[in-house]
């Protein structure tokens, strides 16, 4: 029994966190002025008082906020995320339609950021005062500092307008792409610009981190030992140092997963990428509470899953970790959790 205790307590923690996410988000949304009926009426070009009252009653918006909250939590507990006021569909259907696009975008961006960032970091760590190292620093800091929607628009103008080699909008060519192979290539073609845009902010984090961590590891005793053994520089760097230098990078991946989701909102809007981020943006503007709450809920779940996966990845990379949970916690910064 006691063997399962840590797992159970983690599960309880996770459920508590999710409840907090729901309640906090629900109350936060209520703070924004106006409600979905205001928006729907606005887009209809006005409506009579009776129609408005009818809509409010239909959506349960005439009830006190705490009653609405209780009803909502009860429904979510049974897996019912409600009906979108604005989009006129079950929220779950909407989200499941959009989820794959966002996961594809976020994972692609993450892979680009981790690969490019780490490689750049390692290169610059090998000659920390060299020209390449400085170039990497400048490039990555510029990418980090630029607002992501601006980077997106610049890439759009450059690669979709001035030198039109990439599509500007959406995930597929609406005029058709011809066959299953064509369809995959079509999506990949559409994916390049948004994924690169989203990755630019994070390349900086990874390259700085990989560089610092690599520098530290390269100064360690066992690296000197490895060099003393007469191993080639290549084996020293990639065989011995890299594995250890990667640990902070993996931590970062877990930490940044939530932020990537936040970045996806902007990137998806700029590139018209049909994912959760754009849905979130549209739901905020339209005060579509059920849709927005469900998106935040699913993002929280995804971030939590990502954190768990990060923990598992640690154990693979670093055999020292993986014993008592207390030691593991000391070994890495605590993930911030669901701050999507």
């Amino acid at each position: 029994m006691s063997r399962y205790l840590p797992a159970l307590s983690r599960l309880a923690q996770a459920l508590g966190l999710l409840l907090a996410v729901i309640v906090l988000n629900f109350l936060l949304i209520q703070l924004a002025p106006g409600d979905p009926v205001d928006v729907i009426v606005g887009e209809m070009g006005g409506a009579s008082e009776e129609v408005i009252a009818l809509m409010r009653a239909d959506y349960g918006l005439d009830k006190p906020v705490l009653t609405q909250l209780a009803i909502y939590v009860g429904k979510v507990a049974t897996g019912d995320f409600g009906y979108s006021y604005y989009f006129n569909q079950p929220v779950l259907t909407l989200i499941l339609q959009r989820l794959p696009a966002t996961i594809l975008l976020v994972l692609s961006a993450l892979s680009i950021a981790v690969l490019a960032g780490t490689l750049l970091g390692i290169f610059s760590a090998r000659r920390p005062k060299g020209l390449l190292s400085h170039a990497v620093t400048i490039f990555s800091l510029a990418g980090y500092s630029a607002p992501v929607f601006w980077t997106g628009l610049m890439l759009l103008i450059l690669f979709a307008n001035v030198w039109p080699i990439f599509p500007v909008s959406g995930m597929t060519n609406i005029r058709g792409s011809g066959g299953p192979v064509g369809a995959v290539l079509d999506v990949a073609h559409h994916l390049v610009l948004p994924a690169v845009t989203l990755a630019t902010i994070y390349i900086a984090s990874y390259s700085r981190l990989a560089r610092a961590s690599m520098l530290e590891v390269l100064g360690a005793d066992y690296i000197r030992t490895a060099r003393a053994k007469g191993l080639s520089e290549r084996r020293v760097v990639y065989g011995h140092a890299l594995r250890n230098a990667l640990i902070p990078v993996v931590t970062m991946v877990g930490l940044q997963f939530g932020q990537l989701f936040a970045g996806a909102v902007l990137v998806e809007t700029v590139f018209n990428w049909p994912g959760l981020g754009r849905l979130a943006y549209e739901s905020i503007l339209r005060r579509d509470y059920p849709t927005l709450l469900a998106i935040l809920f699913f993002s929280a779940v995804l971030v939590m899953v990502a954190n768990e996966l990060t923990d598992l990845a640690y154990r693979k990379i670093d055999p020292r970790i993986g014993g008592a949970s207390r030691r593991r916690r000391r070994a890495k910064p605590q993930p911030k959790g669901a701050s999507a």
Partner: protein, 521 residues
């Protein structure tokens, strides 16, 4: 043998077509770009251009309109208004069917009118309709409690889709799944909707107008970000971009080869940009203060500079191109002396720093030019007559709507649609009975003038067009004089499309009318 004959046959047919003065060619796909996400496709219970554009392709209506406000036969091949104005008889086109093959009958027309009357947000549109008689399958008689000339425009494609009773008749219509998978009567058949991405329509092979539509397929791509939509249009990914409204975007696309950019059509919407006062709040309860601000504003600067000369002037509550509009009104040509004199007269004397009073300007979020830029212009311009302007931004529409509809404002910019007949879109802004707290685009100015109420009531029932125009003329003169609202311009509603597309919908309802005539040259 067959293979041999076919090209020959085709050649003969196309020769025949040529001699018949280049008949429109069948076929092709039309890709339309829009920033708006439709909630669903049932225009009987949902207004707004996002739904209207789709709904008018999927559903036919009794009448359609040309560019000069003239009704044209559509699903009704003819119609009569009774002598006393208390009934309107529609004669339906024989043989018309819904997309599922069922015939369109007068019972469907009666059902549609009833549904719209009960559910459509524009309650004034069909309010006087008492019942619809169906003496036979192809005749519908609309019985009215009082003469209702607005009914003819209310039978437009955007406002009166004829929906099948056998599909929408059961249960709560708001929750009917067919709102998202419509079964229609119009030129195009609904195929699929990828929420927030695109919807696809295909040619209705059994459309009741012989030979139409010409397009095989229509896809409306939803691109939420306007900058992205402009780029897509520039690249040629989009064939047709209706309802373009941003002057910068329009100017940019005007310079692109192969694109036609026109402001023809769309008069029916009559989207007026204006400044509205909270007339219940001092000092804006004094008409002289409102008029003074009117004389201080240089409309030509707003329209030529801020709006790049792409808008037409607006001088009153009814869009100037409407047959019911008058130009015999005060135009508020800029006159700072007169503005100062009016403010003095109203007792708003300047203090030691030359400041008479401070006012807050709100703006409708969405348009940069008619929003923030206009508000900033007012700040510098009105300082000249001693009015200190504080600009207050709203982050999004609901925030703004909440402020205005709860009367928490001094002056706001706004954009309000005429929707064809004054009864549908104009009255709501001025009627005393429509001062309704919490309802945006009601009479949030809280303007009240018994004579105006009287005139609007009479005009709504006046069947004689000339007499009706006369009543509206007096109404327009009073409202412009009282100045609860200062009219600035008619919002740009441009249609942008590729060269090679012909017979685009440039009627008073623009893209919210059937696309059955469009073809690729």
């Amino acid at each position: 043998m067959k293979h041999f004959l076919r090209p020959l046959l085709a050649a003969t047919v196309s020769l025949a077509a040529l001699s018949a003065q280049a008949a429109p060619e069948d076929g092709g796909t039309l890709i339309v770009g829009s920033t708006q996400v439709p909630r669903h496709f049932n225009g009987a219970i949902q207004s707004g251009t996002a739904t209207a554009m789709a709904s008018t392709q999927i559903f036919a209506s009794p009448l359609r309109y040309d560019a000069e406000w003239n009704p044209q036969p559509y699903l009704a091949e003819s119609w009569e208004v009774a002598e006393d104005g208390l009934s309107v008889t529609l004669h339906l086109t024989p043989g018309a069917t819904f997309h599922d093959g069922e015939p369109i009958t007068s019972a469907d027309v009666a059902f549609s009118i009833q549904t719209i009357k009960e559910n459509h947000p524009f309650q004034t549109m069909l309010a006087p309709v008492e019942s619809v008689d169906t003496p036979d399958e192809l005749t519908a008689v609309i019985n009215l409690a009082q003469p209702h000339p607005a009914l003819l425009l209310a039978m437009s494609p955007a406002l009166m889709p004829i929906i099948p009773e056998h599909v929408y008749g059961e249960g709560d219509i708001q929750a009917n799944p067919a709102n998202l998978e419509p079964v229609g009567s119009g030129p195009f058949v609904f195929e699929e909707y990828r929420q927030g991405e695109f919807y696809r329509l295909s040619k209705n092979e059994n459309f009741f107008i012989e030979g139409r539509p010409y397009m095989d397929e229509v896809i409306v791509q939803i691109i939420g970000d306007p900058a992205n939509l402009v780029l897509s249009t520039e690249r040629g990914d989009i064939d047709y971009y209706p309802f373009a409204g941003s002057p910068r975007d329009i100017e940019r696309l005007q310079g692109v080869d192969g694109l036609i950019v026109t402001d023809e059509g769309n008069d029916g919407f009559g989207a007026l940009n204006w400044l509205a006062f909270n007339t219940a709040k001092a000092p804006f309860d004094d008409a002289r203060v409102r008029q003074a601000i009117g004389f201080a504003i240089d409309k030509s600067f707003i329209n030529d500079r801020l709006m790049a000369g792409l808008v037409s002037d607006s001088t009153g509550p009814i869009v100037n191109s409407s047959p019911l509009a008058t130009d015999e009104v005060e135009t508020y040509a800029v006159d700072l002396d007169r503005a100062n004199a009016l403010l003095d007269e109203a007792g708003q004397m300047p203090d030691g720093d030359g400041i008479r009073f401070t006012m807050t300007v709100d703006y409708l979020p969405g348009s940069v030019e008619m929003g923030r830029n206009l508000a900033e212009y007012l700040r510098s311009q009105l300082r000249q007559i001693g009015i200190e302007v504080e600009v207050r931004a709203s982050p999004d529409f609901p925030t703004w709507a909440q402020r205005i509809s709860s009367y928490d404002f001094d002056v706001t910019t706004d954009s309000v649609y005429n929707w064809g007949d004054p009864v549908i879109g104009v009255n709501r802004t001025y009627l005393t009975s429509n001062i309704r707290e919490g309802v945006i685009w009601s009479n949030t100015q809280q303007y009240s003038n018994p004579r105006v109420d009287e005139l609007l009531e009479q005009a709504a029932m006046e069947n004689d067009p000339a007499a009706r125009a006369e009543l509206y003329k007096e109404f327009q003169q009073i409202v412009v004089e009282d100045a609860p609202i200062l009219y600035l311009n008619v919002a740009p509603f441009f249609s942008i499309y590729k060269e090679g597309l012909a017979d685009m919908p440039l009627s008073i309802w623009g893209a919210a009318s059937p696309w059955d005539e469009i073809y690729w040259e």
